[in-house]
Symmetry: C2
Subunit: 355 residues, 2 copies
């Protein structure tokens, strides 16, 4: 059991053996309302039927369109019409998209409603369930609206990962890889050793879920609002976000991050921050975790990629803020000149490294 400090309220991450066991512990069950990922609702219908009141349940498909400001209205209204009150509790069961929707709603409904989160993807469990952030799209602007408002409890059920498709596991692994690279050489190598024996079951996944949260915790506690050291958690993300956008979300987020990590490392080599050998080793180790999406990236418009990098919400002027690396555990935020430095290096990466 982990306790995370937050400006809003501290919260615990509590492990449970099954979805049913977790949901039986929901606070104020008689006033609880549920927001549930459509796929989870289908796969775990029987277990959910034991714990969840249908009249107080909203089912949400986990698609990028659902994460839009424009489509939040019916969800708010369903919750209010079902009688959700300010002393209620919004129980959110799902991955990143449903978490984003639930977090945003909880943060603005009644100026802040209690909510509890059961993350159901590897990415949500190892990474996004802690850290307070919600991200909502509006029009063609991605993730420009959001809040900092952590759940009041995280109910961690590693067992639900068993029903995830392989790409969802690889997507979560992108953030796990990033966090262990941030931690340092030793942890990263231990992860790589475990991953070489990974056969698609849950294996050592629970260990790395917990280890990833442990790496993330000090960053979000020290800099919850992401104005300083937390920026380092964006390692691989400036590029990853651009790859998602330029492929119209054809690459799962965490896999785009894995490709983004490789890009950031390649750029770090080009700018003289790290020896080429580090990139070459990462390239070899991470290949199984992004293949064959490199091909999708090669087919994407490089104009689209560079536009997305420029429009990333973290950029405020003509230089681009990148998290570059001097090696495992040695990431730094660097202003990279867009035309002179970034475009040539990333173009070379896209041309030669995405085969």
């Amino acid at each position: 059991m982990l306790t995370i400090k937050s400006h809003s309220h501290d919260y615990k991450v509590e492990p449970y053996s099954s979805l049913g066991a977790a949901l039986r512990t929901v606070t104020a069950l008689e006033r609880a309302h549920f927001l549930i990922d459509a796929e989870i609702a289908r796969l775990y219908a029987d277990e959910l039927a034991q714990a969840v009141v249908p009249e107080r349940t909203v089912i949400v498909p986990a698609s990028e369109e659902q994460k839009s400001f424009e489509v939040l209205t019916p969800i708010f209204l369903q919750l209010l019409q079902a009688g959700l009150k300010r002393d209620g509790n919004l129980v959110v069961v799902g991955g990143g998209v449903v978490q984003d929707i639930g977090c945003f709603i909880a943060s603005v409904l009644f100026r802040g409603l209690r909510w509890e989160l059961v993350p159901t993807t590897l990415l949500a469990q190892a990474d996004s369930c802690i850290g307070s952030k919600s991200s909502i799209n509006i029009g063609s602007y991605k993730n420009q609206i959001g809040t900092f408002y952590p759940p009041h409890r995280v109910l961690l059920v590693v067992a639900v990962l068993a029903t995830l498709p392989p790409d969802e596991i690889r997507s979560g692994m992108g953030e796990i890889i990033k966090l262990q690279l941030l931690k340092g050489e030793e942890d990263f190598r231990e992860l790589m050793t475990d991953l070489q024996e990974f056969q698609g079951g849950l294996g050592t996944v629970e260990k790395w879920v917990l280890r990833s949260m442990a790496v993330k915790q000090p960053y979000i506690e020290e800099d919850e609002y992401d104005r300083g050291v937390r920026n380092l958690l964006n390692y691989g993300h400036t590029f990853g976000h651009a790859y998602e956008s330029a492929t119209h979300y054809g690459i799962p987020h965490g896999i785009a991050v894995t490709l983004g990590i490789l890009t950031a490392t390649f750029v770090s080599v080009e700018l003289g921050f790290v020896p080429a050998a580090h990139y070459q080793e990462l390239k070899r180790l991470l290949a199984p975790w992004h293949s064959p999406y490199g091909g999708l990236l090669r087919a994407a418009s490089s104009t689209g990629i560079f536009q997305a990098i420029r429009h990333d919400k973290k950029n405020t002027g003509d230089a681009v803020n990148c998290i570059l690396t001097r090696g495992p555990g040695r990431m730094e935020k660097i202003k990279v000149r867009f035309q002179e430095e970034l475009v040539p290096a990333v173009s070379r990466f896209l041309a030669t490294e995405t085969t």
Copy 2:
């Protein structure tokens, strides 16, 4: 100059002699975008033209419909399309409705954007410009969505009150009366003396704007999130909100609060908290400040009024939380039984006191 403490960031209230003088001090003017009340844009077109860039300006009519979650999307998109970035500044010029919209947008855009507020109504200047709250409607649910996110600066231009219609002055006075009643006997009597000589010019208004903020400040600093002592600022509001709702917003907010103060005092008499003489005196003193809206209230559906009281977001069960009074400076939060106590007392008030 006042400095207000907030969980999010401290902020100053700075007086200026004119709208132009205030706007010339806007932070990062080259990255500032403007959200301006349509009526202010019309009345102060020349002064605004000196300070405001049209391409970075959104004009908003100050209507209850504009304050809806459903109609925020085009405003967000206009701001983003005009190039507002996370290092920008949203300058909000208007009264309560425009403030609510601007505050909500600033609190969720880029997970929190700098914003500066020029309150242009008496109610906004004396009361709502400090305290961090935004309130947004959704569907038929009023003020159920919102955030706590104060402006980074409040630019106070008392001179703009000169162009307000008389009912807007009386509306602001409702909150000023409430705050001075909360302060105590002496301040309330001083206000009443000044108001007897009030001839519709600005007169002593600036003094009471500043004195009202001074009363409000300790409540919002001690209990920004409105979980305890700040509740007392809702004196008159449970009834006032219901009167607004039941008359379809035919009564301006602050005037509904004045009627709500009288109701709360009447109920306090009925329940034995305060002598009838206190109510009789308030009734006489406040009459000029709500007439003739008592008539509108008499014509309203009492079913509608009682439904609204029950659905007030501050109520969580079968009893209704009311701020009652034992006299000036002695307000208390009391749970009042709905059917047995509240309905009879308020029915009597509506039947006999709204002539």
